[in-house]
């Protein structure tokens, strides 16, 4: 008996990978959103910058350490690339604060001004990257390379136990080591950041700063420094995440981050601004609803599916491309904003602060 004409486990694996990607790319946006209280649209370009930076360090190291002939351990090491992306994108975030946001803050600009400024900063970073590295780096032309992992971590996970089972499909879960890394590291990062935010002196100072700059200042908190640290961490984690995401992709371009911006925003708002654990739940909801939409759209497109039926009965063609599944984030975003604007774990303050 064939109960499902699609492969449940294969789709589950894809959803897990997408969720991991969203989780790690969301943390930075959530931090900026909750501490500085504005929607940072330049976040998309932190992702793009992270991808380019992690690829750029490969080019630098190839010239800097030519004796590493295999390139396995230093030149093309994923963790070195991630660290480099962390630092470089963190610096980009700090530069944004120093050059633009800090000045806006000094004359009490509204959060709308910050949002509009962030769109501008995003455009600048994106086009600057495109100018330097080329707009659409293609595979084989230096656009990407698969980094290596140290400690012989290069394994592929492929669960075999449900293989060729007619009920569940025939493929099983297939996750590469890079994708497994994304899932593990994203959840680890959330746990660490959540702890830092809730328990440490630095985290409480960040939350205090987000409540009131003046009051935090008279408590002895150097608010300007806290804001700079927030930017460095938020942008850095995003850059690090982006370098992991790049490792799973065959190619990347200067528009990759921009295409991920909407699902990232949806995850932050669905999970609740300022709630990192809510972000995990939200990321899984988004990822699985996207995968379900993908399955449904594929079913509709199959021979004798809904698409054929409409064409035969009504006489015109309506296309249900599976690529429309990406729009599910829009749908979820609209529903969340209408039904529960504070998100799953969000507090009232976060809602009030939203633009």
């Amino acid at each position: 008996m064939v109960l499902f004409s699609f492969d449940i486990f294969s789709h589950t694996g894809l959803a897990l990978i997408y969720a991991g990607t969203l989780i790690i790319l969301t943390i930075g946006l959530n931090m900026v959103y909750s501490v500085l209280k504005f929607s940072n649209f330049a976040h998309a370009e932190f992702v793009t910058a992270g991808m380019f930076m992690s690829w750029w360090v490969l080019q630098i190291l190839t010239f800097a350490i030519p004796w590493d002939t295999t390139g396995e351990h230093l030149i093309n090491n994923l963790f070195i690339q991630a660290t480099f992306a962390f630092v470089m994108v963190g610096i980009i975030g700090v530069l944004g604060e120093v050059l633009v946001y800090g000045r806006l803050r000094s004359f009490d600009a509204s959060s709308r001004s910050f949002t509009v400024a962030s769109i501008g900063i995003g455009l600048i970073i994106r086009n600057f990257l495109a100018m330097i590295f080329g707009n659409f780096p293609q595979h084989g032309l230096g656009g990407t390379s698969t980094p290596s992992l140290p400690f012989n971590l290069n394994f592929d996970i492929k669960l075999q136990f449900i293989r060729r089972h007619p009920i569940f499909g025939s493929q099983g879960i297939f996750i590469t080591s890079f994708q497994l890394l994304i899932i593990i590291i994203s959840i680890l990062t959330v746990v660490v950041i959540d702890y830092v935010f809730k328990k440490t002196k630095f985290g409480i100072a960040m939350r205090a700063t987000s409540d009131s700059f003046e009051l935090a200042d008279v408590c002895g908190i150097n608010t300007k420094r806290i804001i700079l640290y927030t930017w460095f961490l938020a942008a850095g984690i995003t850059g690090m995440g982006a370098s992991f995401v790049r490792a799973t992709q065959a190619r990347f371009s200067s528009l990759d981050g921009f295409f991920l911006l909407l699902p990232i925003f949806t995850v932050v708002i669905l999970g609740g601004v300022g709630s990192f654990r809510g972000g995990i739940v939200a990321a899984f909801i988004i990822a699985f609803s996207r995968e379900i939409a993908l399955i449904v759209l594929t079913e509709i497109q199959k021979p004798n599916g809904l698409e054929d039926t409409i064409e035969q009965t009504l006489g015109f063609t309506v296309t249900f491309a599976p690529a429309y599944a990406d729009a599910i984030a829009f749908v979820v975003l609209i529903i969340v904003l209408l039904v529960r604007p504070q998100g799953i774990y969000g507090s009232v303050e976060a809602t009030r602060a939203r633009v």
Binding site: K201, I204, A205, R207, A208, S210, D211, S212, E214, L215, A216, D217, V218, C219, G220, I221, N222, T223, G274, S347, V348, E349
Partner: protein
Amino acid sequence: MSQTVLRGVNIVSGYGKLQVINGIDIHVNENELVTIIGPNGSGKSTLIKTMIGLVKMFSGQVFLRDHDVSHLQPHEIIRTGIPLGYVPQLANVFPSLTVEENMKMGFYTKKWDADYSKNIDKMVALFPILGERMDQKASLLSGGERQMLALARALMPEPDMLILDEPTAAIQPNIAEEMLQLIVTLKKELGIAILLVEQRARRSLELSDRGYVLVTGEVAATGPASELLAEDKIRKLYLGVRDRNENNT
């Protein structure tokens, strides 16, 4: 002669190009409760915000004991080593932090060790209602409880100097009276120098040692509180002629 804790010399300040404070000399001695009164817009809050570094000072000097703290940022003033507590008029607690975290913020510049938990116990003894709500968010507190929490936060570092900006604003009259009594107790028992800005001019002057009357950014009158209270002109202009149960001036 007791030592001066906080002294402002010829302070001129304001917002942007607008000058609000036009040259004010002010000082607060040890173990002294000093009240600043004056009509709305006379620059009471601006004056103390200038001294704590929140408002840019055009000219003049501010001394905290022997330290020249003119033109320093608030967090730099807090880090001079002389414990100072400041309770602003609005937004005086961190709403998204719990009550305990709010108190921790008062202890931010020091290590969170034994001293810290000892001081927490003191605050809980002083404000029992806060002790019951340590894990609640400050946004859930009532107006009076917020003022108490703000005061508790300011008292956490065991300050030599306490600056209070209208601690009785927007709370019930009976709690407001309790608050003023508490402030007097703090001065008497802990010997803290207190600078108070107050809307309830007469009541606060009755409790204070000295007073300043501010009008359009200048000191119109100053002296011992009893003398200010007795002066006819001030009584008429700033204290209002009312019955004893006044709530506000």
